[in-house]
Symmetry: C3
Subunit: 344 residues, 3 copies
């Protein structure tokens, strides 16, 4: 299909400065773009460099009449670019039905236009919504449910009794509903505490490859609407992750911790158990959180501290030997002064 | 089945204070319990608050005649509660036999009452004990063995020649027996050192979702009896993990390290290679262990130090800028004093 | 087959001191070796202890005429030992053909002597080279390709459009080509940025169990020739890992970061996004890299610093309370001196 810059402006809700009839054949980053592509710039500083890209059109946040390039003005260029990437490159979902090599329980209920790949296993009384794409090797345990338009990538394991919302994406290797890590000591041995609760994943959640979400001991582990979780993240039993939270790769969240709305946990962060992280908190990479954090704080470090303190103190760590030398020198000089003064 | 408080007292070995004929229909946490439930309290401080739960009975460690509630007195209330959770909520194992979609070698030997799920693969000369539950998508390589009453959750991969004991639980995505990370440098390239050893997992071990246990270069990587390993843990080649050790999520243990009995490694701990961690050691979350640790130590920090030192020094990190300012101020004042004194 | 020490010397390119006709039946570590085995020592300090091993022959880097033992002299004993381990213990690849329980697209092209295990899924237009071993439960998405002599272990997931070279080894649970973690904020929600790029894995790469390699937003995530990646490693979108780099377990590398040739990232290292790590850099365990690192540097710590600084400063961390006490004492004494001097 042939698409002009004018078509794209209509699609993303923007305004063209220049030639609206320019044909756009693809999307590409600023440096890699070729003739026929559209690209985007985020800030004013790139506006002066528009002639450095070979793209035929540029999405910008600002009105400009810059020479040579056609411009597509929108409020949020990155958002418009994401929408165009979807338009150009994302193949629409085509249902393939249930593969003959899948094992689907007779008591499972499947919605309209579902796909179930080879070697997928769907347990008793499972409910699958419309247009759900269950890829090969996926396991869905008894009494689970998956909402409309969700995608479950190959080799995901979903234990029994898991509730998954609409438009959820689970990447390969994700495990949902495995037993929480709970034991009670009985003399020399650890007796397993049965993990009788479940996991609820709300609408619009995406979970990255090989992340693990444990079921609750009792009650539910909950990933709330719109939360995005990266790869290799550990979410322990009874954790609640708030709406639209961002959890970056290799984060670990221990049992019963509550993560607020819009929280950002950067890569490799660890959060202790029974912690309350307020809404809109940002936790810097590799931080270790062992205390509650009030809303809107930005923290970093292990143990975590306000980011301002972290930035100021962490530059002093490599200078500790020098500080130690200064202190030793001062001690020597004070001793000399004391002796000198005392001698008088 | 109808169960009275008296029945439960008999089951867990406790004593009823109050009405032993109270019917108990389920188990729940203190706050969430409803009429008919039994709950538990751990410490004395909760005894005064027994009227705050709607549970019909409470398990406590102490004798009490507290008003209104029936009491079940036991030495270890959490243990009794775990036993009751099992009694009420854990479905007894029901063997399903070998699914027609499984691929079982003709030379494999299966015990009595086993279950083998769809798309499970069992290699040559594998020996599977009685009542073993091999779920869908599991791979068990040639010459491996699995002891009685073990559960291998969906999509676990067990490489050839792995020995697994009785009552072992492997959660989804676990990989056992993958090659250790061993190369020898030959000019510009890394030549793979064949990993010719194996993995031995003893009785009563549980391993969490997506954890990885590498096979030994030569000899065995060993997880000893009763050790419990959480999700996303890395155990490298030739590691030995001691009896009843607790290894929390995202811990990484490098090659040939020995972890003693009853050791606790908290979340995200890293242990270097060829380290010896003594019995009963506790390593705090995110610690980095690069030296041997004698038995019974409690350490924290990266690099790790005695926990007492860690607690005292880590509070000073955010105060480093202030300490630096004090030192600078002292230096200035000493200079002034020296000049003043020198001038006399 | 009977092999003498002389045969082995010829095989690895070394020279025998002693009895070349000694029969060698196996390889073992220094302490565990038995009669008939060959073992190796790395340094001179072991030469004096050659009588402590029961091995019938020892590989050493130095010429020696040491009593009793036959010696195999080579430049790189560990390399020779790895070659002998391969000779003695590695079974040659035997193709098994395509299992009837595999699901192979009619449009896929398979090379000579391939193996495709039960429940493996091979998508449309996939190209598989000669002698490729695709184990059970593996998923290979449409339009991917795998070069000659590669081994894809059970339950690996390879998303569509992935390019994999020759002699590549992917261990169980590896995920290649999952979506990068990219969203653009639109008021309160996160809009997914389609990840339209791919992943290229060059020849001779090995990737450990449950590691994840995300596809590029646009362009390619690249693992270059000979790089070795351990278990549970996260490689984000658009990352490039250089030739022969070593990436140890649980490392996380954020988006668009470039890792140079021969770089070593030790266990649990985190690298921020858009970072450039120069060739031959070594990053110590648990380090956090948030700035570019020039070639040939050795860094450690979080935030990372030159290793020399790290070693000197990290020993002072546990001594901070003592330093603080000294500073407080100095402040008191200076105050006294000032009063004393001022009083005069």
């Amino acid at each position: 299909m042939k698409r002009t810059l004018g078509d794209l402006a209509e699609f993303v809700g923007g305004r063209v400065v220049g030639d609206a009839s320019t044909e756009i054949v693809g999307c590409a980053p600023f440096e890699a773009a070729r003739e026929g592509d559209i690209t985007f710039v985020r800030g004013e500083k790139y506006l002066a460099r528009l002639d450095e890209t070979r793209a035929s059109a540029v999405i910008t946040p600002l009105e400009t009449t810059s020479a040579g390039k056609s411009i597509l003005c929108v409020k949020n260029p990155q958002l418009a670019f994401a929408q165009l990437l979807t338009l150009y490159y994302q193949k629409p979902y085509e249902p393939t039905g249930v593969h003959e090599g899948a094992a689907v329980s007779a008591t499972a209920r499947l919605g309209l236009d579902v796909s179930v790949g080879p070697c997928a296993v769907i347990g008793d009384r499972v409910v699958i919504g419309d247009r759900v794409d269950v890829r090969s090797g996926v396991y869905i345990g008894d009494d689970s449910s998956i909402g409309d338009d969700s995608v479950i990538h190959p080799n995901v394991s979903i234990y029994r009794g898991t509730t998954i919302g609409r438009r959820v994406i689970l990447h390969s290797g994700v495990v949902v509903g495995s037993d929480g890590f709970g034991y009670v000591r009985d003399e020399d041995t650890h007796v397993k505490i049965p993990q009788t609760g479940g996991v609820t994943i709300e609408d619009d959640v995406e979970i990255g490859a090989n992340s693990t979400i444990d079921r609750a001991t009792m009650g539910q582990t909950v990933i709330k609407q719109g939360a995005k979780i990266d790869n290799l993240v550990q979410v322990a039993h009874n954790v609640v992750i708030g709406e639209n939270a961002i959890v970056v790769a290799q984060v670990g969240i221990a049992g019963s911790t509550k993560v607020g709305r819009n929280v950002i946990l950067a890569g490799q962060v660890g959060v202790a158990d029974h912690i309350d992280i307020g809404d809109n908190v940002i936790v810097g990479a590799q931080a270790g959180v062992a205390k509650n954090i009030p809303p809107h704080q930005v923290v970093q470090g292990s143990p975590s501290m306000p980011q301002r303190d972290f930035l100021r103190s962490s530059v002093l760590i490599p200078r500790l030997p020098q500080i130690k030398r200064i202190v030793d020198d001062l001690a020597r000089r004070i001793k000399a002064l004391e002796e000198h003064v005392g001698n008088k």
